[in-house]
Symmetry: C2
Amino acid sequence: MPVDLEEWGVRKRAFWNRIWEDLEIGYLDKDLLPLLIELNLRPRTYTLSSCSGRITLVDSNKPWARRGTNVVFKKHSPITREELLRVVEEPCAEALWLIVSGPIIHASTASLREAVELLRIARRAGFKHSGVLSMHKVKGIVVEMLTGIKAIHIIKRGEDFVTPVSELSKVAAIANELLGDAKEALKKLVNEVRRSRPRRLDSFIVEDLWRRQYPFTP
Amino acid sequence: MPVDLEEWGVRKRAFWNRIWEDLEIGYLDKDLLPLLIELNLRPRTYTLSSCSGRITLVDSNKPWARRGTNVVFKKHSPITREELLRVVEEPCAEALWLIVSGPIIHASTASLREAVELLRIARRAGFKHSGVLSMHKVKGIVVEMLTGIKAIHIIKRGEDFVTPVSELSKVAAIANELLGDAKEALKKLVNEVRRSRPRRLDSFIVEDLWRRQYPFTP
């Protein structure tokens, strides 16, 4: 199933512009920026919604059940004991889970060869759970890059505590440590993508970076 | 990259025979058998190492770091409070994590078309994190089928408890509930694969099932 390069290219530019709009309105997960640039410099890749690693608190019977309303806390940097306490002291509808997630990167490629190359790069950087999610003539071949970095810890069910309040500073410390691993993994991926740059970069992206006066090492 | 069908077929038969050897020596995760049969009945698919969902206890600084030695408990069925207590009472070298994992199914397909079809089936069954892991002329196109079902809960770090012993029966109950979801997800996948059977089944597998007197609904 060959990808329609023209339509794919239109989408690449739209998603690229979105990154900079999101940055401007403070919506972008900033830790991602170096990686997003590096991936979009590849002529046959563009990036989709991604995450640099984060800590969330979810009020939900099952920790994987996501509705917009049940993420009660979200942060892409370390959590303080006070932040954690503030959420824990609120009443909880179902169960309160603290979740640390490693980086998740989604990219679309214009060819299967490029998708396989991204998977190899990702695996070299320790993103062992990476794979091709779907293939589409216009949307391209969607690759997910994923590590095994994860913790999903139950704090309380209703008001019945599994992890006592007295132990929450330990939980925050451990969560922050794991988040540190997530950010390290991300840096490793940026370096691996940079090391594997194709000979020709995407000239639209290169020029746009100049225009935006955004420093990048050629 | 076309798959070498002859070599691929040799591997399919070898992996198929291994399933029955593993069953005989009690090494097979038995809950998997209906799914393994259903997938192998597809002429262009065979199954690789898979798991029906399990509860493990891991003694490790980071819960994702796996060496053979640090899995101190593993069970594909519910854990009892006593089993959990027995492990928790032992001294712990680094940190003790209780991990509930949903089903993970690995399969090799002989074509990209078949891989994409498996991804569609998996997604219909709620295995939303499924993807193509790698492509290889002889090993085929490797597909991973994965749900979001997971919990990774810290019990203690060294002998410093985050979850007190008094709360461990709650932890066991919650873990068993999540494991129940894992087994339900597996059943849903079996049904979805059965519903999507191709018109022609793999005649070698069909005949071998007759020979083994293993009941299957044609």
